[in-house]
Amino acid sequence: MDAMSTNTPRKTRLATVWLAGCSGCHMSFLDLDEWLLELAEQADIVYSPVGSDAKTYPADVDIALVEGGVANADNLELLLQVRANTRTLVSFGDCAITANIPGMRNMLRGSDPVLRRAYLELADGSGQLPHAPGIVPELLERVLPVHELVPVEVYLPGCPPPAERIRAALEPLLHGERPQLSGSDQIRFG
């Protein structure tokens, strides 16, 4: 048994990460349906809100799909852990690549106007600004795309990227190759 396992090539260590996004990219990932069974044969899902119970980001990850923009201190801390422990970081979906809808708050110029608008001006009389250090993560002044903060190897646009597009990126990556995505089926925003 031991002899056999040493001959078996190490399975790819795959993570999926959810930052400031609606989780639609992860829903699209689940739309891979039966191909997920093939994926599970080729890869260990070592960290994922939809495929793993791990609470801390592990070391030595081969591929990470990172959904969402970087909107708060938790997002930033997790992203830095992901970058430090991942060989191929895939910027997964329009929020990760452009800041997209979470980034629309940037037009209000800073986190304070956003919090005031949401928690005071639109409150029904009992509004208060959220303040719970260590529990509620602080908003960053601006929501930023992933690649404006850390280097990114692969970009997978779409809101969300359709399941076939995710597969088109993952299949070469599982074989250690860099996907060459082009054309309307593979790199379209929106």
């Binding site: 690549i97 800041a99 646009p157 995505l181 054309g183």
Partner: protein, 243 residues
Amino acid sequence: MSVCTLRINDHDIAVPAGTTLLQAAQQATIPIPTLCFLEGLSAVAACRLCLVEVSGADGREEPRLLAACVTAATEGMRVQTHTPRLQEIRRTVIELLFTEGNHVCAICVANGHCELQNLAVEVGMDHSRLPYRFPERHVDLSHPQYGLDHNRCILCTRCVRVCDEVEGAHVWDVGWRGEHCQIISGLHEPWGDVQACTHCGKCVDVCPTGALFHKVDTSSEKHGHPERLQRLMHARTHQQWTP
């Protein structure tokens, strides 16, 4: 009518004098991407997407970057339309447009039918190498039928030209300078207050993005109709008014 011969990529082409490089390339079925250009309107070379490399004109051998939509073909010109340098410029132009404004494709009226979104695919833009600006821009919903979202405006000036040259109302203009540059209606009044507007909708039909839209349209529901302009111009030119 005098004819001049020129070479575009590897094709020798003969065209009437005065033909633009864009028309000459179209004649040879060589596609050159365009954005501000629209058949039926004057050409203004605002977007710089149709830049080509031209040598052999006016005795100059060093390739120059010229906008194909406003450059007339001359005898002995040699034109390159898709060099790596040009492809890099075109991608950068599209990245500049995306990062200058606030283009959120997912919630846009024009999602799926947008010329800017299509061009991003064509130039291979899977992300922007330039930082996003997230400028503060406003939306004018004062017109009873139409809206103008400055966040999505790329200042191509098609609306300015169609209103002036075709409708003859000249509601639109370009105001301010630099990063404050924007399309203005009337004397920078709310669109709905501009009495010159005939409510014809030609500006909405030719807008390449979701900047000008019908108020009834929600996300992904706007379809541009530049072909309506072309039908009208054909009818006017040939006096053929068949429905």
